[in-house]
């Protein structure tokens, strides 16, 4: 029987691109891959720029406007259109719309970030303890999570803010939103930890004498944090919407605080005569949320490329 012929590549032939090993490149990991894929998306730069502008507005509103948003109001300009120095016209009380919109960024961002932070901390604690320790800890924490999951968080925040009507501040508002929005995060993290904790490296960690808690903190949590980051980036937009909705309903911050929700609520009575007073803060609110949500979705695509295909 004749031997099958084997093709042997001659030495002088160049290796095909896929076979080459680039020794000078840094080893790839999840974060570097994610960054590489993010860098290629033009939408990433657009939403990042929008976020940067909003953050600048929140930190240094005086960079954008010299007009005082609340004290420089003249009733004779009530609902007046745009004039020199006042590009977006005036509110019903004669305040400069542009100045109010610029100063409003601070409230939205502060409440949004704080609420996301609070729901993140609570969700991570509840989810990781439930997933990692299992048993009765899991039963108790997951039932508590079910309860919070069963209350739409804006409705819960409405009840909290109605009851706490005397103590309205950025903090109470952030607690009212974040304190009820953590349940889905806890669920996501719990199932991720259940998947991760059966890995050999977890057993190796406890076998070398680490306590269970120390293993959770230094090995299990860092390996299951990706969906948490994706969820938190996406929920930042949701928290900003929640703040605006509560302010719009009159149970957010007081009307003396600059907030897009407050301004939209105040402008609704003159929607027929001065629609732009309502539309400008709406545009800023929507653009901000859109920028954060787009950023969150791009981060998700980068960290979990299969997510987009799954829908």
């Amino acid at each position: 029987m004749p031997k099958p012929e084997h093709y042997v590549a001659p030495f002088d032939e160049d290796a095909v691109e896929v076979d080459k090993i680039k020794l000078d490149e840094k080893p790839s990991n999840l974060w570097r891959d994610a960054w590489r894929s993010l860098r290629r998306r033009p939408l990433f730069y657009i939403s990042l720029a929008a976020v940067a502008v909003i953050v600048l507005m929140a930190l240094f509103p005086t960079l954008f406007t010299d007009v005082a948003p609340n004290d420089d109001c003249h009733l004779e300009f009530s609902n007046a259109g745009a004039t020199e120095g006042h590009p977006m016209g005036f509110t019903k009380r004669g305040c400069d719309v542009y100045a109010r919109v610029v100063w409003g960024a601070r409230t939205s961002l502060a409440v949004g970030l704080l609420a996301t932070l609070i729901s993140g901390v609570v969700g991570i604690i509840m989810g990781s303890l439930a997933g990692f320790y299992g048993g009765w800890v899991d039963s108790v924490l997951s039932r508590i999570g079910d309860i919070f999951f069963s209350i739409p968080y804006i409705l819960a925040a409405v009840v909290v803010m109605t009851t706490l009507s005397e103590y309205r501040s950025v903090w109470t508002l952030a607690f009212a939103i974040g304190g009820f929005a953590w349940a889905s995060l806890a669920r996501i993290l719990r199932s991720e930890i259940l998947r991760v904790k059966s890995g050999d490296f977890v057993m190796a960690s406890t076998a070398t004498g680490r306590t269970k808690f120390s293993t959770l903190i230094s090995h299990v949590l860092p390996n299951s944090i990706t969906p948490v980051i994706v969820y938190l980036t996406l929920s930042l937009g949701g928290a900003i919407v929640a703040e605006a909705t509560l302010s719009f309903l009159g149970v957010g911050l007081g009307s003396e605080v600059m907030s897009w929700g407050n301004d939209i609520s105040a402008a609704q009575t003159s929607i027929r005569t001065a629609p732009m007073t309502l539309i400008w803060p709406s545009i800023f609110l929507t653009t901000t949320v859109l920028a954060f949500i787009t950023l969150g979705e791009l981060v998700r695509d980068a960290l979990d490329p299969k997510a987009r295909a799954r829908g």
Binding site: I147, A156, S165, F248, Q268, G311
Partner: protein, 308 residues
């Protein structure tokens, strides 16, 4: 199946107790006088104060208060609103309107999401797919009250295609605009789910078999791909229900639809704490009930769930 129903109902018991307890706890264990706090900067009349104190059993210890409150809740005694009408009567008057609005919104949302998701999935990566992606992203970002005002201003006031407020006339055509707005705020998640499932279903063996048998695309797509992609979208409507309730509250308020949401909206705006608490409790219980119902429906549609 019976075992599954019993198990699912038993699972709901701690959730119902927990949610009502949580709401009750939030309201009645805050520092200060809970009744005064519920009125904000207003002061209730002494008669109303005594009535509320009796209704919430404030002279009893906290846990007894809660027990009596639960007993009232389940015997249908939900308290009274500020105008003196019982919450039960208000519910029976307003609920049909909300049900109608919600059904219209869900029907519109479902049709739009299924059609757009199907074509986006079939043309994955093409222009139409990217277009729906962008539209979905924008719809996901626009807060519902902004959407309401934009629709009210442009469609109703500026172009005059619909009436800006609904009022007492809750006919189909009059409620179409709020229903469309509500649907628009919901459809992104369903559409994405549909798109993802269609992409997944299209590469399955049974679809390849159908094509291999020589069936034309106009038969394979509706009969094999579409039908098998619908289940996740149906069950997603349960997850949408929470969004729908908040959305309905705002939409009914802005378009003045005389439904449950509008009653809650007016109570929130006017700072009528007791009414807010009653209606939020009812809505949360409805939410729990709907979730059970959808889980059971899911178990009927997909036998694997029953044995999980």
């Amino acid at each position: 199946m019976l075992m599954y129903v019993v198990r699912r109902l038993l699972q709901a018991v701690p959730v119902v107790i927990g949610t009502t307890f949580l709401i009750y706890f939030m309201v009645f264990s805050m520092p200060g006088d809970p009744i005064l706090a519920m009125f904000g900067d207003k002061t209730p009349s002494p008669a109303l104060y005594d009535q509320l104190a009796a209704q919430y059993h404030l002279d009893q210890p906290f846990l007894v208060q809660y027990g009596l409150y639960m007993k009232d809740l389940f015997t249908g005694n939900l308290g009274t609103t500020f105008s003196g009408e019982s919450v039960g009567a208000v519910l029976s008057r307003t609920f049909p309107v909300t049900l109608k609005l919600a059904s219209m919104a869900i029907a519109i949302e479902f049709c739009v999401a299924v059609v757009l998701g199907l074509f986006a999935g079939l043309r994955k990566g093409k222009f139409f797919d990217n277009l729906t992606l962008v539209i979905g992203l924008i719809m996901l970002s626009v807060p519902i009250f902004v959407l309401c005002f934009l629709a009210q201003y442009f469609i109703a006031i500026k172009w005059g295609w619909a009436s800006p407020t609904v009022g007492a006339d809750t006919s189909f055509s009059n409620m179409l605009l709020p229903a469309i707005v509500l649907a628009a705020s919901l459809f992104t998640t369903s559409m994405r789910l549909m798109r993802g499932t269609v992409i997944d279903t299209r590469s399955r063996d049974f679809v390849r078999t159908a094509y291999a048998k020589g069936l034309p695309g106009r038969r394979v797509i509706p009969v094999h791909v579409l039908r098998n992609s619908l289940i996740p979208v149906v069950t997603n409507s349960a997850a949408n229900f929470g969004v729908l309730m908040v959305g309905a509250t705002v939409t009914e308020g802005i378009f003045n639809v005389p439904g449950v949401g509008n009653t809650l909206y007016q109570a929130i705006i006017r700072g009528e704490g007791p009414t807010v608490v009653s209606f939020v409790t009812v809505m949360v219980l409805a939410y729990v009930a709907i979730n059970i119902l959808v889980d059971l429906l899911y178990a009927v549609l997909d036998p694997r769930i029953r044995y999980a």
